[in-house]
């Protein structure tokens, strides 16, 4: 699968509180409204730009992206805003599983090599990020086989429905 988009940079330790602020908890059953505030406390310019849908933005962050609260709304809002993939130096564990469960790929790489606005092309199977703007290639961290299986079937719910149960091929 090839994924294309333009980099939107964020810093280290972006928590789910910054992605999906608690003060909008009244919108948790109304994600189409809530998405207008996605990542608001990390960068208030992001949501309006992403929702214009002129182009796909790729969230490019630093260390431990998605730390803190388990609120899955955070991953869902990022996906709903049109972001096709999240890149970071590292991910917090609950957020990481949430992403794959809902079919949003999350890939680790040295995001210092990507600048805000760079045009990116990502080959998920090969684990390579092409930075078209810089003409460089970045290796991505390996996605665990279980997560890859879940992602390739569109998320964990589709996976379970297709296999009839929560079962994994022996690896």
């Amino acid at each position: 699968m090839i994924i294309r988009g333009r980099a939107w940079k964020f810093g280290d330790y972006v928590s789910t509180d910054l992605i999906a602020p608690g003060r909008y908890a009244n919108l948790r059953d109304n994600l189409n409204e809530f998405v207008k505030h996605v990542l608001e406390d990390a960068d208030p310019k992001f949501a309006p730009a992403a929702l214009e849908r002129k182009e796909a933005y790729i969230v490019v962050a630093g260390r431990n992206f998605g730390q803190g609260s388990s609120r899955e709304h955070a991953a869902r809002l990022i996906k709903l805003s049109g972001v096709p993939i999240v890149l970071a130096k590292s991910f917090a564990r609950i957020f990481y599983r949430n992403c794959f469960n809902i079919g949003l790929p999350a890939l680790t790489t040295d995001t210092d090599k990507i600048d805000h606005g760079d045009e990116l092309e990502i080959d998920l199977e090969q684990g390579v990020i092409h930075n078209k703007t810089k003409g460089t290639q970045l290796p991505a961290g390996r996605i665990p086989p279980i997560m890859m299986q879940i992602l390739s079937e569109g998320g964990i719910i589709e996976y379970i429905k297709r296999h009839g149960d929560l079962v994994f091929e022996k690896s």
Partner: protein, 425 residues
Amino acid sequence: MGLTLAEKILSMRLGYDVRAGDIALCEVDMAIVQDGTGTLTFDVIRQLMGRDFLKYPERALIVLDHLGPPGRPEYATMHGRLRKFAQETGCLLAEVGEGISHILLSERYVKPGDVVVGADSHTSTAAGMCAFATGMGSTDTAIAMALGKQWFRVPETIRFELHGKLPQGVYAKDIILQIIRLIGEDGAAYKAMEYGGPAIKELSMDARFTITSMAQECGAKLGLFPSDKETKRWLKLHGREAHWQPIEPDPDASYERVYEIDVSKLEPLVSEPHTPGNVKPISEVAQKRVKVHQVFLGTCTNGRLEDLKVAAEIVRGRQVAEDLRFLVYPGSRWIYRQALKKGIIRKLEEAGAIIAHAACGPCPGMQFGLLSDGEVCVATQNRNFKGRLGNPNSFIYLTSPATAAATAIEGVIADPRPYLKNGTE
């Protein structure tokens, strides 16, 4: 080679040994949602099963601790949906005012050796009683509830050997803040933390839960204490002694890293805004004379009986600073009643505290105790991310209940130790 606590609990469950890196697919003893994550979880159950369905309704618990009593109409609607789901499936429900999910789990349901998941990142709190308890998203929790099982990667373990005696004025909260300071907010990412060493015998269950509640603030899957005499005392206290079994890690277990911590060398610590890892000693912070507008005592981290007691001893016979709001949210109804019986609530109230119902209170930043621009809150909670108390232009400092209580009296961030010198403890 022996097993760590995390490996041991999952191996006991599966009936064969699993090691770090293995995938464990196992039955879940308890799965919880709270009112902030429940409706999404149940949407996913419908998507998965085509209807409201739980494999084991008696192992699923809904706790209305974040949004009740509802301060917004949408919250009331969410509560309505959650109550209806409980009626239809027969699952357990803890009403508004019963307390915080993590505290209720430890008081009423979890046994040493259990596997527990919850759509709340502080579900790891119950690992203080030697359960494999960890937080997950709504989809993962939906699967655990609907199918009665879940998969885990067996985590590597980082061991913390605690030595020495805690000095006066230094508490479990300071131990966990010291650990975050030492290893960083992602220092235990994807790992299990495991506590041992002579000093843990002196740590009550209340203190242990403070430490295990903040595993997520180290990036960890969970933080485990062994099941020992203190665990047994706790279960007996809650009428569940029969649920006790001893669980220890094997002496030849394999650890990724081992940290030795001499707790006698610690001083009270403070996480400054805007991350829990921004930890400073109180001696440094107190010098800045930071003006405080609100002090909040409570949460799954520090809303237990010992926490309320130590705060009450500090404020007794004194008055909260002018222009300062001192909010107290007991962690459960049991804690509330004990605190009433023991005169703790009266001491807090007479000092000027506002005593609220048993709930999460301001911590999730959804309706109670929110801050205005430029305001400062000292909180015994576990997180101080920007905007956590409803306003990205406010500032949150994390401390122990003692430091919070001293701050409530002085109106600036204050060292609790001068208040404890006259043998009040």
